[in-house]
């Protein structure tokens, strides 16, 4: 077979290697004993393949952190935030798309404007607010403040505006209430947008680090990204293997899910770009 664009392939393969080689190196570290890691210094294919593959880093990591609980806590937080966001945002979006009421435009502008306040800055005053409610070091601090989002309301409203109003009116003739219209017409027809928004929100929560590392102090409430940082503490005992084992455990599920649901991921992630 003749390759049509040799130069293009060279470029593509070059960048493929810049992405893959560091990852392969990292995975290889997770399967090496710390003695082997300490002895590494030359550059050969051995930089990427362990001499004697071992699972001891993983067994030590499982002893250090209760990784099952970490995953459970992370899933609980991420799913709660995602699910509640979808409900609250779609309710507000429905009201903005289908009702006339005093203060509608102002309220909408304020909601959209909240999009430009980054959480990295907001966390400072938010800490004070949450302490006032006695929520510091509670999982609710990771959930409650984040279950409604200007971006979600904006995005869903745009989508609902595209649903023909005649459907609402027809249902109203049949005696359907506003709540009924929301539940039986708007929600089912908004499913594609809800799916994409759900993926964005879930990923955002799954990767969240700044908020939990600032608000949570108990080990028993660690989320995944914080647990990785916690494993890093092992470095003081020269235990690099344990950190990389944790990283592999954290990254592999995401990569597997991504590879299978690629289309949704890419659509979701490129939509999230819109929020700025």
């Amino acid at each position: 077979m003749k390759i049509k664009n040799p130069l293009t392939y060279c470029i593509l393969v070059f960048f493929l290697l810049t992405v893959l080689l560091p990852m392969i190196w990292g995975i290889s570290i997770a399967f090496r004993s710390n003695a082997e890691i300490a002895g590494m210094s030359g550059f050969s294919f051995r930089s990427f393949v362990p001499e004697t593959a071992t699972l001891e880093n993983f067994t030590r990591m499982f002893k250090r952190v209760n990784i099952g609980r970490v995953f459970a806590v992370t899933l609980y937080v991420s799913l709660s935030v995602t699910f509640l966001n979808l409900i609250i945002n779609s309710m507000a979006a429905y009201a903005f798309a289908r009702f006339e009421f005093p203060g509608k435009d102002l309220l909408f502008i304020v909601f959209v404007a909240t999009m430009i306040v980054p959480i990295e800055i907001l966390i400072i005053p938010l800490y004070g607010t949450l302490r006032g409610f006695g929520m510091i070091d509670k999982l609710s601090a990771l959930i409650l403040p984040f279950i409604a989002k200007g971006f979600g309301i904006f995005y869903l409203r745009q989508f609902i505006l595209g649903i023909p109003k005649e459907l609402d009116e027809a249902a109203m003739i049949d005696g359907c209430s506003r709540l009924g219209i929301y539940l039986r017409i708007i929600l089912p027809l908004t499913k594609p947008a809800l799916l994409i928004l759900g993926i964005i929100l879930f990923l955002e929560q799954w990767d969240s680090f700044l908020v939990p590392v600032t608000l949570i102090t108990s080990e028993s409430k660690m989320v995944l990204q914080v647990a990785i940082n916690y494993l890093y503490a092992g470095i003081y005992f020269n235990d690099i293997g344990i950190l990389f084992a944790g990283m592999v455990i954290a990254a592999i599920p995401v990569i597997i899910v991504f590879t299978f649901l690629q289309r949704f991921f890419i659509e979701g992630i490129s939509t999230s770009g819109i929020k700025g």
Binding site: A92, Y94, F99, V110, T129, F209
Partner: protein, 300 residues
């Protein structure tokens, strides 16, 4: 039946519906009001007061915090690091993303595979990516230094070298995110009408002319969008790599504003000073955005 229908539609915008609408919005108003709008106002208020993280409220101090911000050597240093980070990432990452989007857009076989792998760093969390690179830069067992040694070059300090550390964090940041922006460029490329290229081919345009006269002008909006987002991200989203890779060091060289602000608030407890820096940073991002939109709009 028809008359009843019109009747209910008129009633559809009556009192009861206004109440229904407010009920639908209420949860969002409560959450966003309590946890976003109220704290935002409080941040602004704090910047004019003397407050500590434990809530010890001092009084109104006017512009004292802002005066301290503009006098602070550390803030100037952090601002410089942030600017370097921003300018480099905006230019290098955007060019790289566009360049690879053009390559990937050529319909060569197996392109799906390349795109999938390119996206791996985008989906893996920044915490994992940062730790991976933190050790990849290591002097002893890091593969980069091993490679330099292998080809006969001197081993480098990278993250421990004050002159190199910031560039290393920038490189990691670009490594994680370029594929994301490549995908946005690809969406922009797919929207360019094929007819433009066909007529250019009839007129005998070269590949280079095609790019200068068709592709690039047609991508102007996408590029503007990407530049605006990258500017904001490069100021705000760098907290994780700095926190995990360098902690702001060595000698404060990687202590970008967002990390500096966090340190001031949560490590040193100086909330009012941190708030003032945050307000200044926010205004800076905001102005950058407006300038970019103005410049981008003018060219059209």
């Amino acid at each position: 039946m028809l008359t009843k229908n019109t009747g209910s539609r008129i009633a559809g915008y009556g009192h009861r519906d206004i109440i229904t609408a407010y009920l639908f919005i209420l949860p969002a108003v409560l959450i966003i009001g309590i946890f976003v709008i109220f704290p935002s106002i409080k941040l602004l208020a704090n910047s004019f007061q003397s407050v500590s993280i434990m809530g010890g409220a001092g009084g109104f101090v006017g512009l004292e915090n802002f005066k301290a911000v503009f006098k602070s050597h550390d803030v100037a240093n952090s601002f410089q690091a942030t600017l370097k980070f921003m300018v480099t990432v905006v230019i290098v990452q955007t060019s790289l993303a566009l360049f690879l989007a053009l390559q990937v857009n050529k319909s060569v076989s197996g392109i799906g595979f390349f795109k999938t792998v390119y996206f791996f760093p985008v989906v893996v969390s920044f915490v994992v990516i940062s730790f991976l690179w933190r050790f990849a830069y290591s002097r002893d067992f890091g593969p980069i230094n091993a490679f330099l040694d292998f080809v006969g070059l001197a081993r480098q300090g990278f993250l421990s070298d004050p002159d190199q550390a910031l560039w290393c964090v920038i490189a990691t940041s670009i490594w994680k995110s370029w594929a994301f922006f490549m995908i946005i460029f690809l969406i922009g490329l797919k929207e360019i009408p094929k007819e433009l290229y066909e007529s250019a081919a009839i007129d005998g345009a070269t590949r280079f002319q095609e790019f200068i006269y068709i592709t690039f002008p047609m991508l102007k909006r996408t590029t503007l969008f990407i530049v605006v987002i990258t500017t904001m991200d490069s100021v705000v989203k760098v907290f994780v790599p700095v926190f995990t890779m360098t902690g702001g060091g060595p000698r404060g060289k990687t202590n970008v504003l967002i990390h500096y602000i966090w340190q001031q608030a949560f490590r040193l407890g100086d909330v009012s000073f941190a708030s003032a820096v945050a307000v200044v940073m926010f205004i800076f991002i905001f102005i950058m955005g407006i300038i970019q939109f103005k410049l981008g709009g003018k060219k059209e």
